[in-house]
């Protein structure tokens, strides 16, 4: 006779689920509305998604308040782990989503946004990412990851172009492989330690003094490969440029931020204790990953003829740059990761939104691809304000002070310096110099060349509507005046990261 299970409701701490439940409820509601009355305008769904995201954000504020007072909260049989990392990364995830969703309100009609499923999937995806960062249970991480990824593949395919299908299938195949790697790595860890929670795995391994180091390394190899796919680290990056090219520009910008921060948080949780365990092999591998990703992606970006592909490679390079934080693994480095990513999300979403605003339905003769460099030639003459804003985003991405991303780079390189990685700091600095070239290349096209005949400047604002312009304006102001919000932001991030024990 089995004992009846006796659990008090308070100990479950169900409030820890609130931030994830809100988007799920929102997604279900959107589907229900569509079933009751079809053919409603996309603006309704945009509005509803926005409302749920704001509510989500509100619960996160609440969770942040709780964390500041009582520290880390566990819930639902210790499956949920609401620590500083979880809260900051959820802020980034939800915040970036709030910047993304109004981009659906374009002037031209695009296929994907006419389906309510798009918005439902989008909200499911957010919930998936939120689950992924708010737990240290390998199974829940896996579930969150797959929920989010499967939704994301579909969202890409809904852009409904040949290249989008190609991108979705490619991403799906690679993602499936990564999922396989992840589950295999987790299995080995479980076999070694009998636990699926990262902190217990760490405790058991430390207690054994890493006797089965061979098996640990096998597990780590598979897990690392799986996250290298998700973070598009070289040489696991090959899907990224094609997927970015196939996805709509706004989705590409979104993909360069949100899935990656989720993956970074999990990587940080996994590798923090391994790095500190003194496994030299892991340090070397991470070092190589960081340097190769930064450098190779930068060099590929130099030769791109399409701005979107260039930005795709540049996003890979930025991911490599930030990956350095995982290697350095000090509180300053981990804080730098989040600071960098907040500032990066502004700038990069802004840059991709500019591309999105100029997305044509049909390509004119003088353009070889959607966003070829030629398209932006002489932009200062035909659309001066747009050119200035685009130039601003490029300068910020290149790390020219005092624009947003400079401060991220500064803090990141500083953390390398204080962490004792002198050579790495120099490599990071020199990579910023290489990256300067391709960002300046776009500025050269925009400010110093003559416009192509037939381009009267309307192309840059074909999709412009008030919501799009507001988002871009918001991103631009954030980029210019980043210094003003830097101090509270850094204090907040450092406090939360430090109090989570990272």
């Amino acid at each position: 006779m089995l004992e009846p299970i006796n659990v008090s409701l308070e100990s479950l701490n169900l409030m820890t689920l609130a931030p994830m439940l809100i988007p799920i409820i929102g997604a279900l509601l959107i589907i229900v509305i569509d079933v009751i009355k079809g053919g409603l305008d996309k603006s309704l769904y945009v509005g509803l998604s926005m409302l749920f995201l704001i509510m989500d954000f509100g619960t996160l504020l609440d969770a942040a308040g709780v964390f500041a007072q009582t520290g880390t909260v566990m819930g639902v049989f210790d499956m949920m782990l609401i620590d500083g990392l979880a809260i900051i990364s959820q802020f980034i995830i939800v915040g970036a989503s709030m910047l993304f969703i109004p981009l659906a309100l374009t002037h031209k009609r695009f296929h994907e946004f006419s389906y309510p499923e798009f918005f439902a999937l989008f909200l499911f995806m957010i919930a998936g990412f939120q689950f992924m960062v708010a737990t240290d249970n390998l199974i829940l991480i896996f579930v969150g990851l797959e929920t989010a990824s499967l939704a994301l593949y579909t969202l890409i395919a809904m852009h409904n172009r040949d290249k989008s299908f190609e991108a979705a299938v490619k991403y799906f195949t690679m993602g499936a492989l990564a999922a396989g790697f992840f589950s295999f790595g987790s299995m080995v860890l479980y076999a070694l330690t009998g636990s699926i929670e990262i902190n217990q795995i760490a405790a058991v391994l430390q207690a054994n003094n890493y006797t089965d180091i061979g098996y640990v390394l096998v597990a780590v190899t598979f897990l690392l490969a799986s996250f290298a796919f998700k973070l598009s680290l070289v040489p696991f990056h090959t899907w990224a440029p094609d997927v970015y090219e196939g996805a709509s520009a706004s989705m590409a910008g979104y993909m360069s931020i949100v899935p990656k921060i989720a993956a970074f948080v999990v990587t940080m949780r996994l590798f923090e204790f391994l790095i500190h365990s003194g496994v030299v092999w892991l340090e070397v591998v991470l070092y190589v990953f960081v340097v190769v990703t930064m450098t190779a992606a930068n060099i590929w970006a130099l030769v791109q003829t399409d701005v979107k592909r260039m930005l795709a490679y540049s996003s890979i390079s930025h991911a490599g740059f930030v990956m350095a934080a995982i290697l350095i693994a000090t509180t300053q480095a981990n804080s730098a990761l989040f600071l960098y990513w907040v500032l990066f999300s502004f700038t990069n979403l802004g840059a991709f939104s500019m591309l999105w605003m100029s997305r044509q339905k049909h390509l004119p003769d003088y353009q070889s691809s959607d966003h070829s460099f030629d398209k932006f030639a002489g932009m200062i003459k035909t659309a001066p304000v747009a050119a200035l804003i685009m130039g601003l985003f490029m300068l910020s991405l290149a790390g020219i002070p005092p624009f947003a991303l400079f401060w991220g780079k500064l803090y990141m390189i500083s953390s390398a310096v204080t962490g004792g990685y002198t050579i790495l700091a120099l490599i990071m600095a020199l990579n910023s110099a290489i990256a300067g070239y391709y960002y300046v290349k776009l500025i050269v096209y925009m400010f110093m060349k003559e416009p192509v005949t037939g381009n009267d400047g309307h192309v840059y604002v074909t999709n412009a509507t008030l919501p799009l312009k507001s988002i871009i304006g918001f991103a631009a102001i954030g980029t210019i005046f980043a210094i003003v919000m830097l101090n509270p932001l850094l204090e907040f991030i450092t406090a939360f990261v430090y109090n989570s024990g990272y």
Binding site: I400, L410, Y411, V417, A429, S432, G436, M448, T494
Partner: protein, 518 residues
């Protein structure tokens, strides 16, 4: 107003530039002249209220930006930076007033005003990161000026300029971060175990580092500064930039932007790394002499008169470096004075080249000849500036060059002798260029009826000529404040230095003055 005069100086042009977007393009020149005239008046006012007896920083402002990480908005001015600030606002006014290129004039003036903000910012910033912000930001307007208004290969030239300096400064940034980290480590409280992050330059001046650290950090900062100066062999971007830039771009570049590098040596490298400065004194002096001789020879081989001026400008930057690394009061004061002189003279020469370029749209010397009879006033002014450039006594350059060499003479007789001879020989190419432009018969039909300098050009050139001669005869009002601040720096270097060699190479001024009293 007194308290915030430096912030006013920095941000007034930027604010004016933002408002400039609203102004109609026919009136924008008047707007630009007015704004930069107000700016010049403010900087002269700064000189007026500046107390030349004080050696340290004046009009300091301090506003926390990122206090947890030690980044603050700190500005201040001393005798070293005061005159470069005035020079920067002076040349912006002259540049805008003499602007002849009417293509996209509105964009040009707005860009120039932004550039002015960054220039003033670099020279008054007393926080390394603030300094870096302005230092990097100054690349962007210049990139645009060269790239949008330049000659045929303008895009190549502008991107080369940008990437070269950008790369150097990133290495410098790593050096800055190390410096801040060492400061943090030095200030760690033994009880709490927490140090203080600081990027304040004055804090860094107080930090005494072991010699090996100094050598490495000196190297990192050197990368940034040497490319900016530009020192041989990092000078290759400059002839391209000068060759392709419009007149205004060359004027600002030669007169102000290059001074950022030499100024930064005095502000950062010398007081922070005195032992490393002594260690590298002779290698750098040799580079400086190679720079003087080699670029003079290259200048002699040029066909394009603007390239002659460009290479001669690099050549004289070598003398500035030599004076700076004399590491004594005469040498450093001389090099700061020479920065001003070089700014005035090479700025004027570029303006003068612009005058004939506007008339003939060529800069090839073979196209000219015998201009002295067609354009007498022009030839006279050019002659005065040329004499100043080769260092004639009673011109502004002479004072600076003399003091620089005098300073270095105390460190090494032979090298100074070499440099002195090189400067004299350097006169050859300038005189040869002058001969080809102005003397002989007017061989080219197109030159027969060239109009002499007009009023607008005179407005720009006459003040420069007056300054050249005035400060050549009576340099005291400028030299005195410079001297006071430099003495302070040299004494600081002497007190801080740890190696024996540095103690003897860098004079101890307190002791010297004690002996005088006795």
């Amino acid at each position: 107003m007194f308290d915030y005069i430096l912030s006013t100086l920095i941000f007034f042009p930027a604010l004016a530039a933002v408002f400039g977007f609203m102004i109609h393009k026919d009136s924008i020149r008047a707007y630009g002249v007015t704004v930069s005239a107000i700016e010049l008046a403010l900087s002269l006012w700064l000189w007026f209220i500046f107390d030349s007896n004080v050696a340290g920083m004046q009009f300091m402002e301090n506003l926390p930006l990122l206090p947890a990480f030690g980044i603050n908005y700190i500005v201040g001015v001393d005798g070293i930076s005061l005159f470069i600030v005035i020079l920067a606002s002076f040349f912006t006014l002259i540049g805008i007033a003499s602007l002849t290129d009417t293509k996209k004039v509105k964009n040009m003036i707005i860009t120039l005003l932004f550039l002015q903000m960054t220039m003033i910012g670099v020279f008054v910033a007393l926080d390394a990161i603030l300094f870096y912000v302005f230092w990097e930001l100054s690349l962007v307007p210049m990139l645009y000026i060269i790239g949008a208004w330049g000659g045929e290969k303008r895009i190549y030239a502008s991107v080369k300029f940008f990437l070269y300096t950008f790369t150097g400064s990133l290495v410098m940034l790593v050096g800055m971060l190390f410096m801040a980290y060492f400061y943090y480590q030095a200030t760690i409280d033994p009880i709490t175990g927490v140090g203080i992050w600081s990027f304040a330059i004055l804090d860094w001046h107080r930090l005494i580092l072991p010699e090996t650290y100094q050598l490495w950090l000196f190297g990192a900062f050197f990368m940034g500064f040497a490319i900016k100066v530009p020192m041989f062999p990092f000078h290759t971007w400059l002839p391209y930039a000068h060759g392709q830039a419009p007149t205004i771009g060359s004027v600002i570049l030669a007169a102000i932007l290059l001074k950022m590098g030499t100024y930064a040596f005095i502000r950062f490298s010398l007081p922070m790394f005195p032992d490393a400065s002594v260690y590298f004194m002779f290698p750098i002096a040799i580079i400086a002499i190679i720079m003087i001789i080699y670029t003079a020879m290259v200048a002699y081989a040029q066909e394009d008169v603007k390239q002659v001026v460009a290479y001669s400008s690099v050549s004289h930057m070598g003398v500035i470096i030599l004076g700076t690394f004399a590491l004594n009061v005469e040498g450093i004061s001389g090099s700061i004075f020479l920065m001003i002189a070089h700014g005035v003279v090479s700025g004027a020469l570029f303006l003068l080249v612009g005058v004939i370029y506007d008339r003939r749209h060529t800069k090839m010397m073979s196209e000219f000849g015998g201009l002295a009879s067609v354009m007498p006033i022009y030839a006279t002014i050019f002659g005065v500036m040329l004499m100043a450039s080769v260092g004639m006594p009673l011109t502004i350059n002479f004072v600076g060059e003399f003091l620089s060499l005098l300073g270095f003479y105390q460190q090494s007789h032979i090298l100074t002798l070499l440099a002195g001879i090189a400067i004299i020989v350097g006169a050859i190419y300038m005189l040869a260029a002058y001969k080809r432009l102005f003397f002989g018969e007017v061989t080219n039909e197109k030159n027969k009826n060239l109009p002499d300098v007009n009023k607008r050009e005179l407005v720009a050139l006459i003040p420069l000529t007056i300054i050249t001669i005035w400060l050549g005869i009576y340099p005291k009002p400028v030299l005195e404040p410079i001297n006071n601040s430099v003495e302070y720096v040299v004494q600081l270097m002497h007190d801080k230095s740890i190696t024996e060699e540095a103690k003897t190479r860098i004079p101890n001024l307190v002791q010297a003055s004690m002996q005088e009293v006795n």
